[in-house]
């Protein structure tokens, strides 16, 4: 008769967390495709000018409103400039503006939100009332109002878009902070005498990053659309600079004779935003603890 033995089962080795997330992410094909597309766009943004077949500002008066052909894959615009080249170079503008504005908005919003969630009290009230006010106007309108005040131009578009991005990050990071604040390891840190600021940034903040990442990605999509809308309305880049929204705006005038001037810039905007949204979805599914 054997003596009783405790369960002798092999314990599954705990997988490294980052590796786990990567593995889960790559299981979702649409997200991977989206990521690849974004990388391609980033490549265009950085190397646009180098790989553009033509000089984006070089006019060609013999070939105005040219339809797409073997030489000019996407045709030419009202000054004979190559559309493809303009789009490639314009990537830098469009992506740059969106990334910059979301980065700024996320930075400020996160900072405020984490502080509000952690310290509560007056800071919390102020931040929450502030974001209520910013939320009180629909996105585009707020951006238009801001641009109306500070004037058109790329930098101002960045500022405008950043401003209406702030409240969403503030809210999300505040609630993420609130839920982490009461967990045990924070109590433990406090009990060994950690300074508040250290607790905040070293312990709490990393756990809230998950919430931020998904929102960040989705907001880039929103920002691209917002920046393009502003450019379309004439508040963005100067007309001559290659910028997707502006190209769409001027292309609109020649819709019946040269529809490709409208098709291609908009298509690019669409694909870019779609890619970021798909990526955001994929990230959310990857990071969501409930979905296995």
């Amino acid at each position: 008769m054997q003596t009783s033995t405790f369960i002798d089962q092999p314990i599954k080795k705990a997988e490294n967390r980052t590796k786990y997330y990567f593995r889960k992410f790559f299981q979702r094909k649409t997200a991977v495709i989206a990521a690849v597309i974004i990388l391609i766009f980033l490549f265009f943004a950085i190397f646009g000018p180098q790989i553009a077949p033509f000089d984006p500002s070089l006019p060609d008066y013999d070939n105005l409103y040219g339809a797409p052909d073997a030489v000019h894959w996407f045709g030419t615009d009202e000054f004979g400039r190559d559309v493809l080249s303009r789009l490639l170079v314009g990537t830098r503008n469009s992506l740059g503006v969106s990334l910059a504005s979301v980065l700024i908005g996320a930075a400020i919003g996160t900072f405020l939100g984490v502080l509000a969630g952690y310290y509560g009290g007056i800071i919390d009230s102020v931040v929450m009332r502030g974001s209520d006010i910013l939320f009180a106007m629909p996105d585009i309108l707020l951006a238009i109002a801001i641009v109306a005040i500070i004037g058109p131009g790329i930098i101002n578009v960045v500022i405008a878009v950043a401003v209406f991005t702030i409240p969403s990050f503030a809210r999300i990071m505040r609630s993420a902070t609130l839920s982490v604040k009461s967990s045990l390891y924070v109590e433990a840190a406090r009990s060994i005498g950690c300074k508040n600021s250290r607790i905040l940034w070293v312990h709490i903040f990393p756990s809230t990053i998950q919430s931020m990442i998904v929102n960040f990605t989705m907001r880039i999509g929103t920002a691209i659309l917002a920046a393009a809308s502003l450019s379309f309305l004439g508040y963005g880049a100067k007309v001559d600079e290659p910028d997707w929204g502006a190209m769409l705006s001027s292309g609109r005038n020649y819709l019946d004779i040269a529809p490709h001037l409208v098709y291609f810039p908009g298509l690019l905007i669409f694909i870019a935003v779609l890619a970021f949204n798909l990526l955001g979805d994929g990230l959310r599914d990857t990071l969501d603890p409930k979905l296995k």
């Binding site: 009332r129 209520d132 006010i133 009180a136 106007m137 629909p138 996105d139 585009i140 309108l141 238009i144 109002a145 109306a148 005040i149 500070i150 004037g151 999509g221 659309l225 393009a228 809308s229 379309f232 309305l233 004439g234 769409l248 609109r252 819709l255 019946d256 529809p259 409208v262 098709y263 810039p265 908009g266 298509l267 905007i269 669409f270 935003v273 779609l274 949204n277 798909l278 979805d281």
Partner: protein
């Protein structure tokens, strides 16, 4: 329920005040002399002074704010610099097209959006689900103004089915409503799908099946009825933003609505009009959010019967 009602309404008032103040300050935040911006470079000093007087800029700031609030209460939104007409008159004239457009956009996008969401949820993981969600994510990614232009090119210029712009015939409403509604349809599809999935996983759905209820009614009467409460909330929130989205669509389709008015007035520096419009859009957004909150309280028996 009464307490909830009162609390929410009271909470909105400070917000409205702050917003009205910010919009009031709007004119004064713009760099440069507002009067000079409005009148243009050729204006004489006398004209400038007259304008300054009529706009009340000579009075101290706080006095201006109070007379501004006072005017608001009496429905006086000022006189448009460009057209010399009362702003309120101009706005009312432009309100109908915007409202009609918004209405049609809401109509189709709500029905289609919820339908797609529910169908996707019921058929989770199958082809319908993927297609539905693909449509949805495209809907939120597509630039409205581009979609509008493309549709004009195809359906108007090429096929000649509908006019290119303006609001002359009933056919004119098609393309703008479709374009305006896309974003909402997409958001609703995604949201109602996730809401339905949540509902379908709840215990009471299992009970309904255990009672021997037909699957179709389990979905409609139990799962969907519960999702509806949340979905209605989302619909309401979208309406608020819809009026603002009209800015772009009205520009693309040259529709004489409030959105276009905003863009034009900004271009002409007709500040009174801009102010009034910003005020209008923010107020309706806030008020609609308030109504949605209260509606949620009514629909959710847990809150209604406190």
């Amino acid at each position: 329920m009464g307490r909830y009602f009162v609390k929410r309404v009271l909470g909105t008032i400070p917000l409205l005040l702050v917003i009205s103040f910010l919009i009031f300050m709007f004119i004064h935040l713009i760099p440069g002399d507002p009067v000079r911006n409005m009148a243009g470079r050729e204006a004489t000093t006398e004209e400038l002074e007259n304008l300054r007087e009529s706009m009340g800029f000579n009075k101290p700031l706080y006095q201006q704010y109070f007379s501004y609030l006072n005017d608001l209460f009496h429905g006086d939104l000022g006189i448009s610099y460009k057209t010399k007409l009362p702003v309120s008159e101009m706005m009312i004239g432009r309100l109908k097209p915007t409202l009609k457009l918004t209405f049609f956009a809401m109509l189709w996008s709500t029905i289609v959006g919820i339908a797609i969401g529910v169908l996707s949820a019921i058929n989770r993981g199958k082809l319908i689900d993927y297609l539905g969600m693909l449509i949805a994510i495209s809907g939120i990614s597509i630039p409205g103004f581009w979609l509008g232009l493309v549709m004009i090119q195809i359906f108007s210029v090429k096929l000649g089915w509908v006019p290119t712009g303006g609001l002359d015939t009933w056919k004119s409403y098609f393309l703008p409503s479709i374009t305006l509604g896309c974003g909402i349809m997409a958001i609703l599809a995604r949201f109602s799908r996730s809401s339905m999935l949540d509902s379908l996983g709840e215990d009471y759905v299992r009970t309904a099946r255990a009672k021997g209820q037909r699957e179709r009614l389990v979905i409609l009467r139990h799962a969907f009825r519960n999702s509806l409460v949340q979905v209605v909330t989302v619909i309401g929130l979208q309406i608020g933003g819809l009026l603002a989205g009209s800015v772009l669509i009205e520009t693309v389709f040259t529709i004489p609505g409030l959105g276009r008015l905003l863009v034009d007035s900004l271009a002409f520096r007709d500040y009174k009009v801009v102010q009034a419009l910003l005020l209008f859009f923010s107020f309706e957004y806030i008020l609609i959010n308030l109504i949605v909150d209260l509606l949620y309280g009514v629909l959710n028996p847990r809150i209604r019967l406190k």
